[in-house]
């Protein structure tokens, strides 16, 4: 896919347009997945044929702060009629925060054939494209998942500690108010349990929203993204980079664009994010 000014994103095949989705609605090898902040939103109307995968109820382990394991992922895929070779196309509200989050979790399980609808739900609705309340029950599949691999694209607290000690770059994608510690949460959002305000020492602040066009939730052009991350913030696609936010959803959005739109080779999402770091005993912060 080309960005607005014609320059192609690094992995152009991973971002699809709303028009492409409309043209491919009936393809059996494609499964459209909606992931939202508000889980009720799907039921008010969704892209025809889409299934819902909810971060809280479907992807999280109910007993450990972690994601589901291999067997539960296989069940989730099977239930939604997703086979190993299905192309999963994600979209959602909030400029695709949760869609990118679900995409990232799918990658942990090695489901490589996945895409994001540029602009997500907002753009689809603005264009007056069809929505339905009909929920299709797909035939179960025999999905075989890899064991979840957390080493390549997921960062844990200890990885962040190592990163800091070695002076490697981190990006805090939260709002400037959260980054500076003025707020414990993003404007208009509640405080989800962070004891301290500030950021991980050495982290740059590049709010996720800078990468998005406000009007339709699409990603900014490749040129604009390069200017933001490579020129203004002096990052390099060879950098060993960790991104974080509050619980990992906004940073999934930044992780996605850095990896797939700008071609960063080694970028990880720290999903423990500020709700872990800001509360942990013995970990330093900066304001």
């Amino acid at each position: 896919m080309k960005s607005n000014n014609g320059k192609e994103y690094f992995s152009k095949e991973v971002l699809v347009t709303t028009d492409w989705v409309l043209q491919n609605l009936d393809k059996k090898e494609i499964r459209i997945v909606e992931s939202n902040e508000d889980p009720l939103l799907y039921s008010t109307g969704h892209i025809p044929g889409a299934v819902q995968i909810d971060w809280t109820n479907d992807l999280n382990n109910p007993l450990v702060r972690d994601y589901i394991g291999k067997e539960d992922f296989e069940k989730l895929m099977s239930k939604n009629g997703i086979s190993n070779d299905t192309t999963v196309v994600f979209y959602g509200d909030k400029s695709n925060w949760w869609a990118c989050y679900a995409f990232w979790v799918f990658k942990l399980f090695g489901h490589t054939n996945a895409k994001i609808i540029n602009g997500g739900r907002l753009k689809w609705e603005k264009e007056g494209k069809p929505l339905t309340r009909e929920v299709i029950l797909y035939q179960e599949t025999d999905y075989k998942s890899e064991t979840r691999n957390d080493t390549d694209i997921r960062a844990y607290r200890d990885d962040v500690v190592f990163h800091i000690k070695n002076g490697m770059p981190l990006i805090d994608v939260r709002s400037p108010e959260e980054y500076t510690g003025k707020r414990l949460h993003m404007p208009d959002y509640p405080n989800e349990g962070a004891l301290r305000g500030g950021h991980i020492p050495g982290a740059l602040n590049v709010p996720w929203a800078k990468a998005v066009n406000d009007l339709d939730g699409t990603f900014k052009s490749a040129d604009e993204l390069e200017r933001l991350y490579l020129v203004e913030n002096h990052l390099n696609s060879e950098d060993d980079l960790i991104v974080y936010c509050r619980i990992g959803e906004r940073s999934s959005h930044t992780w996605f664009l850095l990896k797939y739109l700008l071609g960063f080779k080694n970028v990880k999402n720290y999903d423990g994010s500020w709700t872990e770091w800001g509360n942990s005993v013995g970990l330093p912060i900066q304001k």
Partner: protein, 143 residues
């Protein structure tokens, strides 16, 4: 607890998850924005519920026959849960006694929505009720 509101809450408590979703959406569909006779844009920020992800505004007034009425605006068109709760509150608090509004247990959010809400969404919805209660306390003080 206010009888009318309690009746709605109990109704939700006895539903399975799918029924709950359908009724919540039905309430969200019936959401009515604050009329211009009560407030016009841009709305005063002191009517905005702090920390609600959907950008909810609340107005509590006493109508001409002395009963409280509650009006809402939900900024985020995708704020379905917020719209549903606002509709429930509008219906459930119609003609309610002001003192009893102050004592509404915010646990009704859990009783209506169940445990499927994220912490953030839960706190935001509770914030709507707390905003109503703050406004009602002021109405009582001013009366």
């Amino acid at each position: 607890m206010i009888d009318k509101l309690e009746k709605i809450v109990k109704f939700f408590e006895n539903m399975d998850n799918q029924e709950k979703i359908e009724y919540l959406i039905s309430y969200a569909d019936s959401f009515k924005e604050v009329p211009e006779t009560i407030a016009s844009k841009p709305y005063a920020l002191d009517k905005k519920v702090e920390y609600c992800e959907s950008g909810v505004y609340v107005w509590s007034i006493i109508n001409e026959v002395g009963n409280p009425r509650f009006y809402f605006y939900v900024e985020n068109p995708h704020g379905v849960s917020a719209k549903a709760l606002c509709s429930i509150l509008e219906e459930g608090l119609e003609n309610a006694d002001l003192q009893s509004v102050i004592t509404i247990d915010t646990d009704i959010v859990f009783r209506i929505f169940g445990n499927n809400l994220s912490m953030g969404k839960n706190l935001g919805l509770i914030g709507i009720i707390q905003m109503i209660q703050r406004q009602v306390k002021r109405l009582i003080q001013d009366s």
